[in-house]
């Protein structure tokens, strides 16, 4: 079988190279130039290459190459005990790692059949919405940079810093957070963390309103983004778009509403949608989502239920450290969990959360062992980035840059 496959591989490669030769010849005949956009280009905000065929300023065709930071997470996950996989998920969409962490925890909880107390769910929602704000701030402010407005970027990054301070207070880390545990949170929200969140809710709206007033009706910004890179709802669905990119095209699909997970069913919020699916709509949908996220956080922090911050699941949730020194069961569970000696039940689950840029899904098959048999990540970036060549065909190079940053493609998630 190995030899068979090998010949097929080289055949495919041969064909690929011949096609490339043909393309180059064709290009010479038509007087086109080839331009390499990336892999390391400051305007691509990540490591991905696009080989563009240019007719002057206009892009005639584009080919995307991805995989420059492929780290084989799906393969690594097949060897690791469940709790050691969370740090891998951090490194997918590193602009909103808490969402990835929580999504993964909820998937495993679904497999194990653990019910998490309301308080833990509320804390999760708060952290996920903060992460969404941070994610959208990066995307939108960088879109500003790409259209020539650096001020907004610097201004909101100070606010993003405050979100990272909250992460630090809650879990100790800032970027790759590894926040929460299977079964809840690793610790309760401290009074300081609650104070910081409330403070953020008070200060941030002013700053963000200023950010919005700088862009929303700015002539230069609107000219650069309106009707740039539009995609119809039908095409977007066919390409598997999710998240703000799909909603900008006018489809109100949001996992938080369609399949409410965690405590989202308890909150009152709206799903903003666009109409044209162009760069400006994507920008506006993200802005509005930031306001909705603030609404959710406010409702959650004001109605934070009393109770435990983790489920009563001694087989999977690490006992408190002082118990480990005094209590025999705690010591045994601690040892078994840390050594990864606890088997999960057999099963097959899919769980999706609304990530910063779309439906982030985890498809987990367990064969009853200490590690997943198969863990597949449905990475929204990977799926919608393939529409990029189609979206930039026929537009100018400067528009292609703007379209790329408005799609919020995160290289870490794309390549997993």
């Amino acid at each position: 079988m190995a030899t068979d496959n090998k010949t097929v591989v080289s055949d495919g490669l041969q064909e690929f190279r011949e096609n490339r030769e043909l393309k180059l010849q064709e290009e010479e005949n038509q007087n086109l130039t080839t331009l390499n956009l990336g892999p390391t280009h400051p305007a691509t905000h990540g490591i991905f290459q696009n080989i563009l065929q240019m007719d002057g300023e206009k892009i005639v065709s584009a080919v995307s190459t991805v995989g420059y930071i492929h780290r084989a997470f799906e393969k690594i996950a097949e060897r690791r005990p469940f709790y050691q996989i969370t740090p891998l998920t951090d490194r997918m969409n590193y602009c909103s790692s808490p969402i990835n962490n929580m999504g993964y925890h909820m998937t495993v909880e679904k497999l194990l059949g653990i019910t998490v107390p309301q308080r833990a769910e509320y804390i999760r929602v708060i952290m996920m919405e903060l992460a969404r704000i941070a994610d959208h701030l990066i995307c939108n402010s960088i879109l500003g940079v790409d259209t020539g407005a650096f001020t907004g970027f610097l201004y909101v990054f100070q606010e993003r810093e405050k979100i990272y301070d909250i992460y630090e207070e809650v879990c100790g880390a800032r970027l790759t957070t590894n926040m929460g545990r299977i079964g809840g949170m690793e610790r309760d929200l401290t009074p300081k963390a609650i104070h910081m969140i409330k403070e953020f809710l008070k200060e941030f709206p002013k700053v963000f309103a200023e950010f919005e007033s700088m862009f929303n009706r700015n002539r230069i910004f609107v000219d650069r983004t309106e009707n740039v890179g539009p995609i119809t709802a039908e095409r977007a669905l066919n390409y598997g778009f999710t998240g703000p990119n799909l909603r900008a095209a006018g489809v109100d699909y949001d996992v938080r509403v369609m399949n409410p997970y965690s405590a989202y069913a308890d909150f009152d919020f709206e799903i903003p949608v666009g109409s044209k699916g162009d760069t400006y709509d994507r920008f506006m949908v993200r802005n509005e989502e930031v306001w909705q996220s603030l609404r959710i956080i406010e409702q959650a922090i004001n109605n934070l239920p009393e109770g435990s911050f983790h489920a009563d699941a001694p087989h999977y949730y690490l006992p408190p450290k002082q118990e480990v020194y005094r209590n025999m069961e705690a010591l045994i569970y601690h040892f078994k969990i840390v050594m990864g000696e606890i088997d999960a039940p057999k099963g097959e689950v899919y769980h999706a959360v609304e990530g910063g840029n779309g439906e982030l899904g985890f498809y987990l098959i367990s064969d009853g062992g200490r590690t997943p048999y198969r863990l597949h990540f449905r990475r929204p970036c990977f799926i919608y980035y393939q529409a990029y060549p189609e979206m930039i065909t026929g537009v100018s190079l400067s528009d292609a840059i703007v379209i790329l940053s408005s799609m919020n493609v995160i290289a870490g998630e794309l390549d997993a």
């Binding site: 079988m1 190995a2 068979d4 496959n5 090998k6 097929v8 591989v9 495919g12 490669l13 690929f16 991805v66 995989g67 492929h70 084989a72 799906e74 393969k75 690594i76 097949e78 060897r79 679904k110 095409r235 669905l237 066919n238 390409y239 598997g240 489809v251 699909y253 369609m258 399949n259 099963g347 097959e348 689950v349 899919y350 769980h351 999706a352 439906e359 899904g361 498809y363 098959i365 048999y373 198969r374 597949h376 449905r378 990977f382 799926i383 919608y384 393939q386 529409a387 390549d415 997993a416």
Partner: protein, 168 residues
């Protein structure tokens, strides 16, 4: 008619028969069933075209390798979503590793393009009719398909490493 997993499955079986649709269960509330390579494209096209079901969103595709199942070593999982009814479906196709050929569904879903390339890259599945079946995440001239179970990751506790090679 209210759409439940059972109704939808009944409708699909009515159209394709129990010879082509079998082993239905819902492990996590998502209706999962098996089909064969001959009917997969027709089935997905039927689900897409059906005015009542309107299953028009391909959520994800994932390959799975079961080295111990003789003749059914590879599995392709298609997860579809009807956004109209908020109904998810999971379709599995098993096939032997000696003959890892599947028909492509890129003509129905543009998004299947990279998903199929990923399955080819990781598991060596060949999709007939795919416009550009080359590796996507790994390097072009890699000579194996890394997600197959015969390529284990290095055991972290192994002791046969020669320390001088690692500067220890």
């Amino acid at each position: 008619m209210e759409l439940t997993n059972e109704n939808v499955l009944g409708k699909i079986i009515e159209k394709f028969g129990t010879d082509n649709i079998w082993d239905a269960y819902a492990p996590d509330g998502i209706m999962t069933f098996q089909t064969n390579r001959e009917s997969i494209v027709e089935l997905i096209q039927f689900l897409y075209d059906d005015e009542e079901l309107q299953v028009r969103f391909l959520t994800t595709m994932a390959g799975i390798h079961y080295p111990d199942q003789k003749g059914k070593e590879l599995c392709m999982m298609y997860q579809l979503h009807s956004l109209r009814h908020n109904l998810r479906l999971r379709i599995k196709v098993y096939f032997p590793i000696e003959d890892p050929v599947l028909p492509t569904i890129t003509h129905i879903y543009a998004t299947a393009n990279w998903m199929e390339r990923e399955a080819y890259d990781f598991y060596g599945m060949l999709f007939t009719g795919h416009p550009n079946l080359i590796r996507i995440l790994n390097v072009e001239d890699m000579e194996y398909h890394p997600m197959l179970k015969q390529y284990p990751l290095e055991d972290q506790t192994r002791e046969d490493k020669i320390n001088t090679y690692f500067g220890r």
